[in-house]
Amino acid sequence: MTVNISAAAAVILQRELLLGFRRPDQLLQPLVFFLIVTTLFPLALSAQLSLLRDMAPGVLWVSALLASLLSIDVLFKGDADDGTLEQLVLSGVPLGVIVIVKTLAHWLVSGAALVVVSPLVAMALGIPFGAFGTMMLSLALGTLTLSWLGAIGAALTVGLRRGSMLLSLIVLPLASPLLIFGASATDRAITGSGSAGALYLLAALCVLTSTLAPLAIAAALRITLE
C-alpha cells in the first residue's frame, strides 16, 4: 500500500485553508497588523510628515516582513501542541511535500493577502500608482521567500513556548537581503529608475529558497520532533 501524494497534498491544503477560515482572526491577523503598522508610522512621524513619502518603501517592507514573520510562528506549533504534527509526519506522505503545502498555504492566507491589500497601504503612504505593479510583484516574491525562511525558523522553534523572539532572531538576519532589495525595487519603481535588477535578484532568492528551504524545514522538523 502506498500513498497517493497529490491527493494527500490536496487534502493538506484543504485542511490548512479550512483551519485558516475557521479562525478568521488568525487569518486576518497579519493583514490587520500590516495595516496597523503602516498607519502607526504616519502617527509616530506626525512631526515630520514630509518624510513619509521618502520612507514609504522602507515602511512598507518592514511591516510586510514583520507581519509575515508574526504569523508564521504558529505554522507548526499548533499542530505540534495537539499531536496532529506527529500524525502528519507518520502519514506516509513525504515530509517535504507536507512542508511545501503547509508553507504555500500559509503564504496564500498571509503573504498573498498582504500583496492584495498593499495598494491600499501604498496609497495612504503616497506611493504613486505607476509603481504599484512593481511593488506588488516585489512584495509577492519577497513574502513567499519570507514564508520559506520563516518556516525554517518555525520548524526549529516548534517545541518552545516563548519561541517567537528566538524565531525573529533566527529569521531576520537571513531575511535582511530581501528587505534591502525589496525596498530598493519599490523605491526605484517610484523614482522611475529601472527596478529590473532588484526584481531579478528577488526572483533568484525566491527560486533558491523554494528549492532548498523545504529540505531544511523537513530536516528541522525531524530534529525537533524527535
Partner: protein
C-alpha cells in the same frame, strides 16, 4: 516509485532550482541594483532626479576649491571618461585628497552639480611605505598614460 527514483527527482529539482536562481542572479548582475552611479551614468542621465543616490569616482587633481568663509568645498569627480562637479559643506575625512577615490551621498541639482551631504573616502587594497609610493610616482610621471588608479 522506488525510494531511489524519488531521490533522483529530488536531486533533479534541486539542480533545476539552483540553476534557475543562478541564471536570475546573473541577469540581476547586469543591472544597477544599489543606488550607485559613476559620473558617466550621471552625465548620460541615468541617475534619478531629486533623489538621493551615491556617486563614486576620483577627485580630479587641482579641482578642489574652498570658499574662504565656511566649510563649503567644490571639487570635480571623474571616472576617467566623464566629470561631475560636486559641492559639499562639512568636515572632510582625513584621507580626502586630490586623486583619491571617494563616495559621496547626495542629490543632483538642476544645474548638473551634485550636492553631497556625506563624503566618504575610499581606500583600495594597496599598502606600501611612503618611499616606495614616491618612487612609483616618479616612474609613473615618466610614462604618459595614467594606469594606477589610486596611486597618483
Amino acid at each position: 516509485m522506488t525510494p531511489r527514483r524519488k531521490r533522483l527527482y529530488v536531486v533533479l529539482a534541486i539542480l533545476g532550482g539552483v540553476g534557475a536562481a543562478v541564471a536570475l542572479a546573473t541577469m540581476a548582475s547586469r543591472e544597477n541594483i544599489m543606488f550607485y552611479f559613476d559620473p558617466s551614468q550621471v552625465i548620460a542621465g541615468k541617475a534619478p532626479p531629486a533623489k538621493r543616490f551615491r556617486i563614486g569616482g576620483m577627485v580630479v587633481k587641482g579641482s578642489v576649491t574652498r570658499a574662504s568663509g565656511d566649510l563649503t568645498v567644490h571639487f570635480v569627480l571623474t571616472d576617467f571618461a566623464h566629470e561631475v562637479p560636486v559641492e559639499y559643506t562639512g568636515v572632510l575625512p582625513d584621507l580626502f585628497r586630490e586623486g583619491q577615490g571617494i563616495i559621496a551621498h547626495g542629490t543632483l541639482r538642476g544645474d548638473g552639480e551634485f550636492v553631497a551631504d556625506q563624503v566618504l573616502a575610499k581606500h583600495d587594497e594597496k599598502y606600501m611605505p611612503p618611499e616606495v609610493a614616491a618612487s612609483l610616482k616618479r616612474s609613473a610621471a615618466a610614462r604618459p598614460a595614467s594606469e594606477g588608479k589610486g596611486l597618483e
